[in-house]
């Protein structure tokens, strides 16, 4: 499994309240997801770059929102595999 880019700023971090080993991290390089509590990470290829903030819906964890540094909001309804621009 791949990992996060080394020594890069991680601007945002979010863990699933219902399954805390599922985590997201946002960097300028893009968004990454871990399913093992942060041991390994994989890039979410469909996610935008310049990720500034990520939030997992507290009761519907397959729903994830992502904000870019430029103020664009994206929504995923499949745990980060696909993203749709909201604005």
């Amino acid at each position: 499994m791949g990992g996060l880019p080394a020594n890069k700023t991680v601007y945002t971090f979010a863990a699933d309240a219902t399954d805390p080993k599922i985590m997201f991290a946002g960097l300028r390089d893009g968004a990454f997801k871990s399913t093992d509590g942060g041991e390994g990470w994989r890039r979410l290829n469909a996610a935008p770059k310049d990720v500034a903030a990520i939030a997992i819906h507290p009761t519907k964890p397959e729903v994830v929102f992502l904000g870019t540094a430029q103020g664009k909001i994206f929504k995923s309804t499949d745990g980060g595999q696909t993203w749709r621009a909201q604005n």
Binding site: G2, G3, L4, P5, A6, N7, K8, T9, V10, Y11, T12, F13, A14, A15, A17, P20, K21, M23, A25, R28, D29, S34, G37, G38, E39, G40, W41, K49, D50, A52, A53, I54, A55, I56, H57, P58, T59, V63, F65, L66, G67, T68, A69, Q70, G71, K72, I73, K75, Q86, N87
Partner: protein, 225 residues
């Protein structure tokens, strides 16, 4: 006691492993060095938003569990959206608390109308009515440059733990219904903390972990401060 050890390895000399992080905080990742640095990504840092309802440079995002309202903290202010981010309404902040940058949110897990936001130059603001009114909540903080916040309400038998990371000052905490912040830790050795979150993964010592996103990756610490 730390189950996840620092596992950074790199073939690039510029990314050779750093000395272990002192204290309780441990780097938990950053395995692969990228072959290409995406300089263009950095070129956009600090720019104001265009075509995004002028919400500006974005720092923080929160989904409220009760009503699905999205909240964002930006360089230009605090906004909320009731249509999943398609449109945004500015949130009124008292003039004496107006802050240029809203950096991070925390929401009470049992009372979602109680929210906190850390700001770049006005400390912590709190609302107890779902964002209609806000007031200062910074008593005891060592500084007003709050870069990240987190809340732990996972264990109903323990008082809620509210955290704020103050730049150059360290990690502060409020237990339960107290109103004074207490400094509890230095935080990660890299002080440029961008986000905090309590994660309900048992440490084996009766607590859970506090994760921190920083300019050198992600760190975590047992929350036995």
């Amino acid at each position: 006691m730390e189950s996840i050890q620092r596992i950074e390895r790199s073939s690039h000399s510029i990314n050779r492993p750093r000395p272990p992080t002192p204290g309780r905080w441990r780097r938990i990742l950053s395995i692969a060095a990228l072959a290409v640095v995406i300089a263009l990504a950095f070129a956009t840092l600090g720019e104001a938003a265009e075509g995004a309802h002028d919400i500006g440079h974005l720092h923080a995002l929160l989904v409220s569990p009760a009503d699905g309202i999205l909240w964002i903290g930006t360089h230009n202010g605090l906004y909320r959206s009731s249509d999943e981010g398609k449109s945004w309404q500015p949130v009124k902040i008292p003039r004496d608390l107006a802050a240029m940058d809203f950096m991070g949110f925390a929401q009470d897990p049992t009372s979602p109308k109680v929210m906190y936001v850390g700001t770049h130059n006005r400390g912590v603001l709190r609302t107890t009515d779902g964002g209609e009114t806000w007031s200062a909540f910074s008593t005891g903080l060592g500084g007003l440059d709050v870069h990240a916040m987190a809340v732990d309400g996972y264990n109903p038998t323990q008082p809620r733990r509210l955290y704020a990371f103050v730049m150059d000052k360290g990690l502060y905490r409020i237990l339960g219904d107290a109103s004074d912040w207490k400094r509890v830790d230095d935080g990660p050795s890299n002080p440029d903390v961008r986000a905090l979150q309590s994660v309900n993964i048992p440490t084996g010592m009766g607590g859970i972990y506090l994760y921190a996103a920083t300019s050198e990756g992600i760190f975590r610490s047992p929350d036995c401060f």
